[in-house]
């Protein structure tokens, strides 16, 4: 069978894709935890991070097709990731300030939040289209992606080769997730986030600055999604609508792992990436998106609180 023959490479690709989904899913889940809001515009945060990385790379590497090597490669890659993180964080932060904070101050009902979110999403990606054109953007390569090792399996060695780009993606994602986990569990901000997620009003009574915590939650989520965007841009097309489908999938991943639960988002992302990649081996490529939808519906029907259980409290 296809999937048994290509097991390791599918698994690896799944982990690679899944780690990106995890980075994006964390943003969804954290915002849901503190605001009980599905931030539909998070997919645009992801896209803007990708754009930020692309701009940085274009500025540094240029569009003439020459790929740098050695130290420049490392430097440029790092700068691209930082740019993506910064842009993502900035967009997320502005989103909260402009769109969600006025709602929060008014204690708007949930429907209003959701509609605002989807409105922001539509606005942002079309704005990006206006600003940067509606075609695919050219992404300069910051480094030569060479072979690192080859996975076992039958079939041609090409697809079974793990490249440095793949390693970069996985290692960056893992490092960021570990850092985030530490932040959530060990720092004061993390405690604040957890407190606000459980019960914003009591947290406020306990001296937590809820507005600041919420802002920072968006910043963190945006940062992670931004990095995810840059990594994604290195092996996927970049255009103004690129955020939409990964966004839905990442949200599915967040629900799969347990909405509001950060570790759940990580787990859900990985799982969904693996499931999706394996389903490519079973179904035709065009039907793969359906698989994510089916997963979402199945989770909602069978275990709506997700694998690791949800962590939500009362709205801020």
């Amino acid at each position: 069978m296809y999937i048994t023959q290509h097991f390791w490479e599918l698994l690896f690709q799944g982990i690679r894709l899944g780690s990106l989904y995890a980075l994006i899913a964390i943003g969804y889940t954290m915002v849901y935890g503190v605001l009980q809001l599905i931030n539909f515009a998070h997919s645009e945060v992801f896209m803007s991070g990708a754009l930020g990385g692309v701009f940085m790379l274009t500025a540094l590497v240029g569009t003439d097709g020459k790929t740098p090597g050695g130290f420049s490669a490392v430097e440029y890659t790092a700068l691209a990731l930082i740019a993506g993180a910064a842009v993502g964080a900035a967009i997320a932060f502005s989103l909260e300030r402009v769109a969600y904070r006025p709602l929060r101050q008014r204690h708007a009902p949930k429907l209003v939040y959701l509609i605002t979110a989807i409105g922001a999403s539509i606005f942002l990606y079309n704005l990006a289209g206006k600003l940067f054109g509606r075609n695919n953007l050219q992404v300069p390569e910051p480094f030569h992606s060479g072979k690192v090792f080859v996975l076992p399996g039958t079939g041609p060695a090409g697809p079974r080769t793990v490249r440095s780009l793949d390693m970069l993606i996985i290692i960056t994602a893992v490092v960021m997730m570990i850092a985030l986990d530490l932040l959530i569990s060990r720092t004061k901000l993390g405690a604040g986030i957890r407190a606000v997620a459980q019960d914003a009003e009591t947290a406020q009574l306990m001296g937590v600055d809820v507005s600041k915590v919420i802002s920072r939650t968006f910043l963190i989520g945006g940062l992670l999604a931004g990095v995810g965007g840059v990594l994604y841009a290195m092996f996927h097309a970049v255009n103004y609508t690129m955020g939409f489908v990964p966004g839905i999938k990442a949200f599915t991943a967040a629900v799969l792992g347990g909405i509001g639960n950060v570790r759940g988002a990580m787990l859900g992302g990985l799982l969904l990436g693996i499931v999706e990649t394996f389903s490519q081996g079973i179904f035709k490529l065009e039907w793969v998106d359906v698989v994510s939808f089916v997963v979402l519906v199945a989770v909602l029907l069978i275990r709506p609180t997700g694998i690791l259980g949800e962590r939500t409290g009362r709205a801020a």
Partner: protein, 420 residues
């Protein structure tokens, strides 16, 4: 006020109790909210459930109405001497009929809420219509086509709603927006709405909370009329002992999720376990004297003649103590008594099926917040300020918090429901 009956059982025992709960146990994580609670509501009687804050009273209501699913126990509802409808059995809802609150209502059990839950943007009449119309069978297609049957149903429901409003005394306010009514009227409206679905059993959750003495009188009268004129059996949670003593045929006392006494009011008054639970301080004993005097029950020896109790009666006692102790106290002013009778702090409601953790983390802040609200309410209501605010407010919170009625949510007037 009428006297509570103490001789013949007011409720009819024919066909068994109309509502029967046996060994109902409800746990939230590590917290046991109801511990093998058994009670029986007989046909046509008024049964009051009392107990300190956190004793599990609202949890009991929620279990009876399908909001919570007790892990153990049996709850049965026997309408009209017919076959029993099992609501809950061994940790599972009756799949066929009564899994959900609206089905419980359909079966014939209605309830009101501790902090009034009206449909605020609807008019008074519409609020009641909602409940009345649940019994009519109009569907959307019929409505859109304007079928005559639908119009007939609507007219009938409207008339029934008007009758209910008339019964509770709200006629003439039909077109007022619900949120514009006075507090006492809102309570009546909620009762009217609960009655509009033609229940056999009515669960009233602290209907007198926050009402002034004249409103309380009216409520007591209304409750009795519902019971005698409409034949509805009533299960009543209340803190106001005067009200309880004047309307209840029987009383069940809960503490820490367990039933500690059950029986006629006079029996319960003298029950040592009950006295111990409330542990009369001076204020409580004086309240007992007042309550008895007001109720004019002659079975109990006059409280006034007994010895004054020392002022240093355990201060950390829950002195929201409304249940009269047999011993009397010499001093303590009427103010304190009245203050002690008022719902000292609103019991944290746990109405929503919340997927929440035990609220031990919340208790601290809540305790303080509630303590403040508690003292504020009392200060406002009594002419002479209670002299021992800490006795009312602070002390009762800790046991309340510990006994964990607070699992789930806190009682805040409206917002929690909105954001559930």
């Amino acid at each position: 006020m009428s006297t509570s009956t103490e001789t013949a059982p007011a409720g009819s025992t024919v066909g068994g109790p109309v509502l029967h709960a046996q060994d109902v146990t409800l746990r939230f994580g590590g917290l046991t909210s109801l511990d093998h609670v058994s009670l029986d509501l007989y046909r046509g009687e008024i049964l009051a459930v009392i107990g300190p804050n956190g004793a599990g009273k609202t949890s009991l209501f929620n279990s009876l109405t399908g909001v919570y699913l007790p892990q153990e126990g049996v709850i049965e509802f026997v309408p009209d001497n017919g076959t029993a409808i099992s609501l809950v059995k061994n940790g599972a809802f009756n799949r066929r009929s009564n899994r959900k609150p609206h089905l419980v209502n359909r079966a014939g059990i209605s309830r009101t809420f501790q902090n009034i839950r009206l449909f605020n943007a609807l008019t008074v009449l519409e609020n009641v219509q909602i409940a009345a119309e649940t019994r009519s069978s109009s569907g959307p297609v019929g409505v859109m086509l304007g079928l005559p049957r639908n119009r007939r149903n609507e007219r009938a429901a409207r008339q029934h709603s008007r009758d209910m409003l008339e019964f509770v005394g709200l006629r003439g306010k039909e077109n007022a927006i619900a949120s514009s009514l006075s507090y006492g009227d809102q309570r009546r409206l909620e009762i009217a709405r609960a009655m509009a679905s033609d229940p056999k059993v009515l669960l009233l959750d602290e209907p007198a909370a926050g009402t002034n003495p004249s409103e309380k009188l009216g409520l007591a009268e209304l409750i009795q009329r519902i019971n005698t004129e409409l034949g509805i059996s009533i299960l009543l949670i209340e803190h106001d002992m005067r009200l309880v003593m004047s309307v209840a045929h029987r009383i069940t006392v809960l503490n820490f999720g367990k039933v500690i006494a059950s029986g006629r009011p006079s029996e319960v008054q003298q029950n040592p376990a009950v006295i111990e639970a409330y542990l009369g301080s001076e204020a409580a004993e004086e309240a007992a004297a007042e309550a008895e005097a007001a109720v004019a029950t002659d079975a109990v020896p006059a409280a006034r003649d007994a010895e004054p109790v020392e002022a240093d009666a355990e201060p950390e006692i829950e002195s929201e103590a409304e249940v009269d102790a047999a011993e009397a106290a010499a001093e303590a002013d009427a103010a304190e008594a009245a203050a002690a009778e008022e719902p000292a702090a609103e019991e944290p409601t746990a109405e929503e099926p919340a997927s929440t953790e035990p609220a031990s983390e919340q208790s601290g802040a809540e305790a303080q917040a509630e303590a403040q609200t508690a003292s504020a309410t009392e200060a406002a209501e009594t002419a002479e300020a209670a002299e021992e605010p800490d006795a009312e407010a602070g002390s009762e919170q800790s046991p309340a918090a510990e006994s964990g009625q607070t699992a789930g949510s806190r009682d805040r007037d409206t917002n929690e429901e909105g954001s559930a």
